[in-house]
């Protein structure tokens, strides 16, 4: 059976830069200070007509570059396209960050001598390789809402429903309906899920 690929999309015509998604994420997963898996950014700031805000996190790339460069091969891509990694294997080398087109991987300084600890990034609320919904999984990766059939917390709480998550096809249908209703497209190309192709 062909699985749908799960994707995020942030409709910047709707994003009001409230930062709710990023705060909800940090709270839900009890992230340490200094780590924000999701971030709201404003592009072309101060340029009239071109300025827009959008929410970014790991984009769960189709050809995930992070997975290609990891020296310990700790990434795994679920059948639904969610890109996850094993923190017990990760050595915190930083290679995934250098490869990532979106600056998603982050490193808490919890290793010996203040070295980079295991990498942390958005899991699309799908936890990690440990036993689903176990205390250990929650502690290392945060909530596993996908296993409970829930929507990732960022998209669930987005008041304007700018931030969408779901299988690529449904997302693109919603997006197309919105664009035709508004009569204009968006600034960031939809379908930027393939990391380095234009």
């Amino acid at each position: 059976m062909e699985y749908a690929r799960m994707k995020f999309y942030c409709d910047e015509a709707r994003c009001i830069e409230c930062d709710g998604c990023s705060i909800a994420c940090a709270e839900a997963h009890e992230l340490p200070v200094g780590i924000s898996r999701r971030k709201v950014v404003t592009i072309n700031e101060g340029i009239p007509g071109k300025e827009f805000s959008t929410s970014i996190a790991c984009m769960h790339c189709t050809d995930a570059p992070c997975e290609q460069v990891c020296p310990v091969d700790c990434f795994y891509i679920r059948e639904d396209g969610i890109v996850l990694h094993d923190k017990d294997k990760c050595i915190g080398c930083g290679y995934c960050l250098y490869a990532c087109p979106f600056g998603a991987p982050q490193f808490p300084r919890d290793g010996a001598f203040g070295a980079k600890g295991a990498m942390d990034k958005c899991t699309m609320c799908a936890g990690g390789p440990l036993e689903t919904n176990s205390k250990e999984e929650r502690h290392l990766y945060g909530q596993n809402r996908i296993a409970e059939g829930k929507v990732p917390v960022c998209a669930a709480m987005c008041a304007t429903k700018a931030l969408l998550v779901g299988d690529a096809e449904s997302i693109s249908n919603i997006y197309r309906a919105r664009v035709s209703a508004r009569g204009k497209g968006a600034n960031s190309p939809y379908g930027w899920d393939r990391a380095y192709t234009k």
Binding site: G34, G92, Y98, P101
Partner: protein
């Protein structure tokens, strides 16, 4: 005491806030790095690094790890080592300072190089605790090397410039292709040793700098960004690429260095422990230096 403690805690908190507030990677600078937003500043080094690391770096390191020792194995079997008498007179070549500096550099390399390989082949070792330990050792043993690399550069630099002997030495590959003990044109250091010297010191500094960049990751040195015109993330990508590419040369010549000092010239390693080289070894392998020593009446 207490006051001092609070002062320290407050400073540390402030410092960490400042650190987090103007992150060079996840802060304001994150946007210019996202190609999908049509940001032209980025040099697309992310894609380059991904391609190189995914397809080439590991394979090249593997090739070096297998082929260089293989060549030596064949050399050892076919031509064999140079054996010089350890019973004869000795020449004092390295003073205490030379030896200690070299020994510290040697110990650092003996840890840095194998741990570097463990990181490169981290998947083979299954990641986790062992590879993490190696990564930490790799970083820790950079410190002693960083301390001695400048003294090492300075103490030997006058002997390391190119000389006519070096060209002749290269033409006969240092005499290592035959077993006969003909005098080989070389001063105190031969062309091979000189090459290794320049690579280990200048390349070594480059390895320290690029390694330190990857270690500290999120820092701001405006001068560095201005001179190179690169954003922080691109500096890191350049560092990772250079660390690997220069690493190829460093490990290849490091293997050569080990083979020469331990196997190819039997007992050569003693000179860095005691300071003395065998007179016969100097006479043959460093004939120009031997002539000079003789003129000065030192042998």
């Amino acid at each position: 005491m207490r006051k001092f403690f609070y002062f320290f805690v407050a400073t540390a908190c402030l410092a960490s806030v400042a650190f987090a507030a103007d992150s060079q990677i996840w802060g304001e600078m994150r946007i210019p790095n996202i190609l999908s937003y049509g940001q032209e500043q980025s040099l697309k080094l992310g894609a380059l690094f991904t391609m190189l690391q995914n397809h080439y770096f590991g394979k090249i390191f593997l090739a070096i790890l297998v082929l260089v020792p293989l060549v030596f194995f064949v050399h050892y079997k076919v031509i064999g080592p140079k054996v010089f008498s350890h019973e004869g007179k000795k020449v004092y070549a390295f003073d205490m300072f030379n030896r200690v500096v070299h020994q510290i550099a040697a110990i650092s390399f003996i840890v840095i190089v194998p741990t570097g390989f463990v990181i490169v082949f981290g998947d083979f070792f299954g990641g986790g605790t062992f590879v993490r330990l190696c990564k930490n050792l790799h970083g820790i043993f950079t410190i002693p090397f960083a301390i001695v690399v400048i003294p090492m550069f300075v103490m030997w630099v006058k002997d390391m410039f190119l000389h006519w002997d070096d060209i002749k030495w290269l033409m006969i590959v240092g005499g290592y292709l035959s077993k006969v003990k003909n005098p080989v044109p070389a001063g105190k250091f031969n062309a091979g040793q000189k090459t290794w010297y320049w690579l280990a010191t200048l390349g070594g500094v480059l390895m320290i700098v690029t390694g330190a960049m990857m270690y500290f990751l999120d820092f701001k040195i405006e001068m560095l960004n201005n001179i190179t015109g690169l954003s922080q993330i691109d500096l890191l990508r350049v560092s990772a690429i250079l660390h690997n590419v220069v690493g190829f040369a460093v490990v290849a010549l490091f293997f050569v260095h080990i083979y020469m000092s331990i196997f190819a010239i039997k007992g050569a390693i003693h000179s860095i422990l005691t300071g003395y080289k065998e007179e016969e070894e100097v006479k043959i392998l460093h004939s120009s230096w031997y002539r000079k020593l003789k003129e000065q009446g030192k042998v």
